[in-house]
Symmetry: C2
Subunit: 467 residues, 2 copies
């Protein structure tokens, strides 16, 4: 009996190691395919250089949707379709403009607030969803604050003025997303919190630690209780300059922005599907978002996630992998300023009534992969963690608790679907995030491909073993 027991253990162990070995061979095969025949980089070149900006409602959105559908078909999806959703249509409406100058205690001459000797143009970008200043612009004195606490202390002096939130990105965080989490409330809530006290406009320091002066846009969210005042992001070097001037004396700034909403329009999630051979009603979703800001090519945010998604589909087909479960490859609409695509996807999933066992997103840039994030039950996390050794050789040396993405959040909330994320190295991301520097040239071919490799390995394992 004891011998049989030992034999049983040996057999189990050998099956296990056979299984692990078979898995590692499949993963290697997928990796080799992506690293030697990968199309992600050339696809990204097309998306960024031939299509370019593709904010919800723009012509670029329409073009990129058509491209995405074609890519899904060409990459071997069993079926591919467009999932319609209404999207907001915010437009910048023209060039953003700002200039700043001292207010001399005694004006040199009558007229305009800017004596020639202290005048400087500032590099600004209106925040996404923000209201414009009107044609004549806004020229007002600037009140410098570094935090909401400081705003509260100065609430009696901001009326009729421009509030400048010069909240610095905290360089001491090693993971730059912590600095972003810390700074982003100024972009989201800053305008309305200043408007509450009568401010006429808001300038925020760009959420970045780049060495350049590019302004970084991104969505703001107005509180309907207060007037929707214009808001711009300011490049970092100019933010330092403006802050210095404000230490020395009073400064006025002229802002001219033209942002406004047009009526909602029609956008689409782009979906490609590989139908499961054993459990076709269990769905695994993997995706990124197709939209990007109007001031950049959206190469890292989130062109990378899109072409990685397509690449996983292509590689699965190329190596002849036939998934047990149904895998949906999704390019989500409107992540940046509405999340209508992710919301629609969850609504349709609820209606369809199938089991969504996992959703994974790549939306942190096409940089070298470092870890995966996973949100699910403890038992599911333990299971996922047991795959670490199979994935680690490809770059994701950790599988951390906590992972998801904006677009798959609604699915998680609707169906409690576990979510996962690719976490690439974060050092360069906020150099280019929502700035004109988020271009194809900032993406490295192998780093992009390795992101797809690590995601593909994880999807393969979830498909094979379930969750």
């Amino acid at each position: 009996m004891r011998n049989l027991f030992i034999l049983g253990i040996l057999l189990a162990a050998s099956f296990f190691s056979f299984g692990q070995n078979k898995d590692s061979l499949w993963i290697k095969k997928i990796s080799d395919e992506i690293l030697t025949n990968g199309k992600a980089y050339e696809n990204l070149r097309y998306l960024t250089k031939q299509i370019g900006p593709r904010l919800a409602g723009s012509a670029g959105m329409v073009k990129s949707e058509q491209w995405g559908l074609k890519m899904m078909q060409e990459s071997g999806a069993d079926s591919a379709w467009m999932q319609e959703c209404m999207v907001p249509h915010w437009v910048r409406g023209g060039k953003d403009y700002a200039k700043a100058g001292y207010i001399p205690s005694k004006p040199e001459k009558k007229g305009g607030p800017f004596p020639a000797y202290v005048y400087k143009e500032l590099d600004v970008a209106a925040l996404g969803n923000s209201a414009g200043t009107g044609k004549s612009g806004i020229t007002e004195e600037v009140v410098l604050v570094h935090s909401f606490d400081e705003l509260e202390k100065k609430k009696d002096v901001v009326k009729g003025k421009i509030v400048f939130y010069n909240h610095k990105f905290n360089d001491t965080y090693i993971n730059t997303f912590h600095a972003y989490r810390d700074a982003s409330p100024y972009r989201g809530q800053g305008p309305s919190r200043a408007s509450k006290y009568g401010a006429k406009a808001v300038i925020i320091r760009s959420m970045s630690h780049a060495a350049d002066n590019n302004p970084h846009t991104g969505a703001t969210r107005y509180d309907s209780a207060y007037a929707k005042i214009p808001a711009v992001a300011l490049g970092l070097r100019d933010a330092d300059w403006l802050s210095e001037q404000l230490q020395k004396g009073n400064v006025k700034v002229t802002l001219k922005t033209n942002g406004h909403f047009l009526p909602d329009t029609i956008g689409h999630n782009i979906i490609g599907e590989l139908r499961g051979t054993e459990f076709p009603d269990e769905i695994i979703t993997v995706g990124g978002h197709l939209d990007c800001w109007d001031n950049c090519e959206g190469a890292h945010d989130d062109g990378a996630g899109c072409v990685q998604t397509i690449e996983i589909l292509r590689a699965f087909k190329a190596v002849g992998y036939k998934p047990k479960r149904t895998i949906r490859f999704v390019l989500f609409a409107n992540e940046e300023n509405g999340l209508r695509g992710g919301t629609k996807y969850a609504e349709e999933a609820v209606k369809e009534g199938k089991q969504h066992i996992l959703a994974m997103e790549s939306d942190a840039g096409g940089f070298t992969p470092r870890s995966l994030g996973f949100s699910g039950s403890d038992a599911q996390y333990e299971k996922v963690l047991s795959w670490k050794k199979l994935i680690a050789p490809y770059g994701c040396t950790e599988i951390n608790k906590g992972g998801g993405g904006a677009d798959i959040g609604p699915l998680n909330r609707a169906l409690k679907t576990p979510t996962a994320s690719l976490n690439p190295d974060s050092q360069r991301y906020f150099d280019i995030h929502h700035a004109r520097s988020d271009v194809f040239e900032a993406v490295n071919k192998r780093e992009l491909e390795l992101g797809a490799v690590n995601m593909a390995a994880f999807i393969y394992l979830v498909d094979k073993y379930g969750l």
Copy 2:
């Protein structure tokens, strides 16, 4: 007694955690200093943009040595000096040139081997230390091989011809240094192995997987038994083109290179020292190499290692850390084509007779840190490994067996000094290694700084606890 034993364990544990906590606070202090007040990036800008190329024997070498000494002094070294060594003085001697064309089976007209319709200039760089072609150049038929095995099979046809080693960088390796190890023998031994069979010159495919066409130089080593034939590296796109032409028919190539040696000249290792307060005769060395190839700014290779070295010194002083042991910050001479600096440093260390307990080098680029490498006894490795948790939060999540660097190899061989290396992410390194694209703009400020942070943490721990 048992209670006392438990008390003892509790006390020991609390001392240990107190110690660890104190260490983590010191490391955080050093990290914050580097990430908020760091000078590495601006120092690198100066070294690359104001000084530029600095191959052994060049004017750039002399300028960079003077700069390095000044940096050591300004960064707070107790003492700083130049350690003289003779260095080789190879010069490119002019622009490298190559063109290629079909050899038609029936020439269209008499004269030159290149009918106009099949003529193309190639982007080449003579290999470091290689001989020139002479003014009239070499025009010969090209024999394509992909490996030394293939060369052996074709040994009877290479006489009087140009051998083209089109050995591809293996993209399936995740760590790109494995692909480099695999490909670099063609650069090192390729010329002499072809010369052995009478070849007149050698072309090698650049050791890279960059998406561009820049040729990548690097040192070759002639075997004195055979004629020293000229050798060039070819850009990747041109290498693909040439290979394609050679599948279709015979191709002749004209090469013109001018490389030659001038008499050896005087170079220097630059050394800054913080004197140990408790064990001044135990020496810890940390460094990078100051020289770089003549065709680039040497920003990653190895400007990064130099400015990181200086930054660690600066940060230790800035936070008021007084090392127990003597730390030497070294900018080594002539790593690229002679290793005379590292050799000299070891010779002087032997003469001086002090105990060199560790040497650490950063010479794999200024990219985001991923791991440390360590070579020493098993007991030393276990000790080093116990520090992993203290360093991991800063990026180096692993401490692997095996670590060192070319410049600290001689010290290890002379005194059995344990060696360590910073291992940054390897994906981008061979895109720019020894190519004109190794410029300041390819370095990211935070990635560079984090390299210094991780090295500083390791040096701090070695200083505090010995090895």
